[in-house]
């Protein structure tokens, strides 16, 4: 244990995701040794991000205005919505430059054991967006783990009566890995999602 304010800093840092007690201590001492101007800038952006950044009224993505950059962009295809769990997934998909439609950020995945059901996510907002019939395709890009799959199943069933084209991102073998190390579930999904090799 350290004295007062140093320990407070370590405790606060330790609450951040992915930061254990050892890392918290390392970051705290880094900050203590750092230039006061650098620390001031960090403190300033922390406050600024809380004060200025909001969530897009349409898609739930982080935004600097009422609507996010993607929702305001008229060149984006309004007929396709890609559903993701978190804003960081939007960033990841944007980096691929493969997708020109719009997004919907759920704010997590269904996990009954953690007490998270559909009502705790932005599912109702998604249904509202689909109501006017402009959207014709829904891409379910929730995480390829248990909660993400269950969430995709739930949404697919919910929108079924609307007659949309519903697709799920292919999941399977990690690129750069060896086939022999893949587990049964991963390998099974890779088989399901196999594509025609057109040469």
């Amino acid at each position: 244990m350290y004295e007062g304010v140093v320990q407070n800093l370590i405790d606060e840092l330790g609450m951040l995701p992915g930061v254990g007690p050892k890392s918290a201590q390392r970051i705290a001492f880094h900050l203590l040794a750092a230039d006061p101007a650098d620390v001031k800038r960090l403190a300033h952006v922390l406050l600024e991000v809380k004060a200025k950044v909001r969530f897009c009224q349409v898609c739930g993505n982080v935004a600097a205005e009422e609507q996010c950059r993607i929702c305001r962009d008229a060149r984006r295809d309004p007929h396709v919505i890609c559903v993701v769990e978190e804003s960081k997934d939007v960033v990841a998909i944007e980096k691929t430059r493969e997708f020109r439609g719009r997004y919907h950020v759920l704010g997590g995945a269904i996990s009954p054991i953690d007490g998270i059901g559909p009502d705790d996510l932005r599912v109702r907002e998604l249904m509202t967006r689909l109501a006017d019939g402009v959207v014709t395709e829904l891409i379910l890009a929730t995480d390829p783990n248990l909660e993400g799959e269950a969430t995709a199943t739930y949404l697919a069933r919910l929108v079924k009566p609307m007659g949309l084209k519903v697709t799920r991102l292919a999941s399977g073998l990690p690129v750069g890995g060896d086939l022999e190390y893949a587990d049964e579930v991963t390998l099974g999904r890779a088989f399901e999602g196999r594509r025609l090799l057109d040469v």
Partner: protein, 265 residues
């Protein structure tokens, strides 16, 4: 430090640090074990999906100072893969895992019967021979019985008189007219018969039951379970009934009269 090997069902996982997870497994011989799976969240992890909840795994642990470390895992049966494709069954399965976790309080205390019940429950659930909620209620009743909380269903829980009228959670099951506390639920005789059938594994009787008796049974069983486990089962309010044609999906509620008040703290 030593190695040991066991088979078990993954109950739940918690993120740890950058890429690790703590995996809670109900094992066959050792009981409930919490182990660290290093690097499991990386897409290149050798564990892949083997340590996801619902998976029946053959697993090797390295005994550690605070937590044991999982060194190898092989899939015996990935129940989660078929459960996530069917939402009502996924929610029912989640409630099973949470209950198994709550009923096995102490770590590394052998709980063979709870393990066997859970494997049996998950297998029955994925085989789709019976309604998910019936499978879940059967699992609840039997796991409570193994934990020493079997409800009285045939004779009054208080005086053992054969004529029974009401179901009183605080008394531990059915009660006769004389022993009936005020506010006790008075379920249909068919509902008590359904509970008895589920407890015994009499599937022909259970499958033939009517929808309203199933609902009443689920309400009583849920209230009875929540009363015996100090904090509620969080998954329970998300458990969905399977859709009957033209019916809207709706969560099953667990309220059946004033007798179902939570366990006094």
């Amino acid at each position: 430090m030593s190695l040991y090997r066991d088979e078990g069902i993954v109950l739940r996982t918690h993120k740890l640090g950058e890429a690790d997870r703590i995996i809670t497994i109900l094992t066959k011989r050792t009981g409930k074990v919490r182990g660290v799976a290093k690097g499991v969240r990386r897409t290149t992890s050798k564990f892949g999906a083997r340590l996801e909840p619902f998976t029946h795994v053959d697993v090797q642990f390295h005994t550690g100072r605070t937590l044991d470390v999982i060194t190898q895992a092989e899939t015996i049966r990935p129940y989660g893969e078929s459960l996530v494709a069917d939402y009502p069954r996924y929610t029912a399965g989640s409630a099973m895992l949470e209950t198994a976790d709550r009923l096995t309080v102490a770590e590394k205390e052998p709980a063979l019967r709870q393990f066997l019940l859970l494997v049996g429950g998950l297998r029955t659930l994925v085989e789709r021979g019976h309604e998910a909620r019936l499978v879940l209620d059967a699992y609840f009743l039997r796991s409570l019985a193994v934990a020493g909380y079997a409800p009285a269903l045939e004779a009054c829980a208080k005086c053992r008189a054969p004529a029974v009228r009401a179901f009183a959670i605080v008394e531990g099951g059915v009660v006769c007219g004389a022993c009936r506390p005020p506010g006790a639920a008075v379920p249909a005789g068919e509902t008590i018969a359904l509970m008895t059938a589920l407890m015994r594994g009499d599937w022909p009787t259970a499958d033939a039951s009517e929808s309203r008796h199933r609902s009443e049974c689920s309400g009583l069983v849920a209230a009875y379970l929540q009363w015996h486990l100090e904090h509620g089962i969080r998954s329970l309010k998300h458990v969905e009934r399977e859709q009957v044609q033209g019916e809207r999906p709706s969560p099953v509620t667990a309220s059946v009269g004033s007798d179902t008040a939570p366990h006094p703290a």
